[in-house]
Subunit: 358 residues, 2 copies
């Protein structure tokens, strides 16, 4: 596959994150935290002062430095590429910005078939800055694996159709139900963009990838299966040949876990509402699980954190006994901005201190 | 029971809502919509111009008029008392306001045991304006049943602890996990306030009641059972003797439906993520179900609405065959502000046009 030959994959099979992600036996419990790079770190807030979110996502040095900050602090087992869900849309030429306190704002929301047909495609060179950041990171990270990152087509569609973050996704769902043909055409375009963005990251050498479907939990299972799953499935299928672990995550997706597993990921992320022992029943055997400490627990003090971390480790061990291929410790959603970074460091140490199951 | 003797319950046994809610056979499919009174109606926006939300909740004439507006328009089978979740807190003397575009803002968030012990109780005369509104409504409504309304203790606790609406409820969860004794003391106070508020409504003559636990879906089942369920259970238990149908609802509560049924409601509300045929399995037989049209579907045009309404009616009939005691058609969450009121009227007519199962 020509597109895969530009870089040689690093050999990090001993890394606990990759061992757990590929069904092997890690020497310690691997952990990383969604949004570990970001607002909880004072050095991040300092670095970002006066620099817009999108500006930082398209600056290779900043991408590298921000991605590295939590690695230096927390002894986590993987780095997550600092980026944003709308980065590939912006790169492709869609007029949008990330407004502090609001989120992404799209200048011309996508509402008609003409709007859909006017959407650009993503050319690899348009995410050259992200690729540049990855190249810097692969040098800086040493033995720590780097996880690539993209938003799933449904989540991108919601931003484009609503014109920004939405609580109820009513315009998105209305398009989906009222005009399925237009909807699938939109999702096709966004799936192409997502694949192109992840392909650029994989060609640059990321060691794993995570597809975030942040808003999928707003849909009932039947709609997810009909209007979303085929597209997410294509993302995973077209990137399977890279042979790197592929993670799929959304929040509030208890009803969808089985279908999200069917989309083709190797590992399914679970939020805190569903115990891992239930998650393995829903996802089925033969896949890994990631999660699922409630990010709010990091505000509850050492004793509560200790109890919750041990409970999850125990449930993870049970889930593996029930057929899960491995467990990667994580939160059930991203690090909240007010989280004390010292608590994150201590939580990582606690997780690492827990014995592996025999 | 002395507290029940002040008003004679109206005899509305023929009303489809009450027939369905009490295990009888309604002559048509009963329907009402959460937030049917409110921002979707131009006459509501006109009436509220220049009048604060709390001001309107404490004005008997406005409570009556706003509650009546959707009854005049939509031919719904029940009225829901126009109120707000924080009304009993405000009435009891807690310093808070509802800020447009934000929601409730609490002047002094409750964070310590001293804060908890300083909370006031609710005396019935403090909700005299609400009682006055109910008295006007019972005259105005004729044969349409009136549903009383209160927020559940957990949702009240989140507003008080966070100081306002919260996406992640981290301070609330932190108190719950770090100091269970303080937490249960707080919940005890809020349960007392909730019971007092509903008792005032029941004494005034409401025909049913709904306890909204808006934020319960943020909790995993184990925490819900330990920190929330005993308190919600007490609300239902202490009001059981009134003999009116008691509904319990929260959004995103798929994992909690069984426990929310155990809390003692006669009817459990279901959001759109869980088909009613799954809901009846989780709730168990012997209870009614309410729901569960996705409010976003009302934006998707007549054909999509028709398909979704028929699907839900069919699933409701199946759920009844599986042991549910009845079904009350509703949304799976509240009416969204931009909903076309004409579409609501047409949807009610469509639901009423569907044949009852034989």
């Amino acid at each position: 596959m020509a597109s895969m030959s530009t870089h040689t994959r690093r050999s990090l099979a001993d890394a606990p994150f990759l061992a757990a992600a590929t069904g092997g036996t890690p020497h310690r419990r691997p952990v990383w935290f969604m949004r570990q790079a970001g607002r909880s770190l004072p050095e991040y807030r300092e670095l970002r002062a006066g620099i817009g979110m999108l500006e930082s996502c398209f600056d290779p040095e900043l991408v590298c430095e921000i991605t590295m900050q939590p690695i230096r602090r927390h002894d986590v087992d993987a780095a997550i590429l600092f980026s944003d869900i709308v980065v590939p849309l912006k790169a492709a030429g869609i007029d949008l910005d990330i407004v502090p306190g609001v989120g992404p704002v799209v200048a011309n929301p996508v509402r008609t078939l003409a709007d859909i047909r006017g959407l650009p495609r993503l050319r690899p060179e348009e995410v050259g800055a992200v690729v540049g950041g990855i190249e810097l990171l692969l040098d800086a990270l040493g033995k720590t694996p780097l996880i690539g990152f993209a938003g799933a087509p449904f989540t991108l569609a919601s931003y484009l159709v609503e014109g920004g973050p939405s609580k109820h996704h009513e315009r998105t769902k209305a398009m989906m139900l009222a005009d399925p043909a237009a909807w699938h055409e939109l999702m096709g375009v966004l799936t192409d963009i997502t694949i192109e963005f992840l392909r650029a990251q994989l060609n640059a050498g990321v060691d794993a990838m995570q597809l975030f479907d942040s808003w999928a939990g707003a849909l009932p299972l039947a709609q997810y299966r009909e209007y979303v799953l085929p597209h997410s499935e294509r993302v995973f299928a077209e990137l399977a040949a890279y042979g790197v672990p592929r993670i799929h995550f959304g929040v509030g997706t208890g009803e969808l876990l089985g279908a999200m597993g069917e989309a083709g990921a190797d590992i399914v992320g679970v939020d805190w509402r569903v115990p891992l022992t239930d998650a393995v029943r829903r996802v089925g055997p033969g896949k890994g699980l990631q999660g699922n400490l409630d990010p709010a627990v990091l505000f509850a003090g050492a004793s509560a954190i200790d109890a919750e971390v041990r409970r999850i480790a125990h449930e993870a061990d049970e889930a593996i006994a029930m057929g899960a291929t491995g467990h990667i410790f994580n939160l059930g959603h991203g690090v909240l901005p007010d989280t004390d970074p010292g608590v994150i460091t201590e939580t990582v140490a606690l997780i690492h201190s827990l014995a592996m199951p025999l």
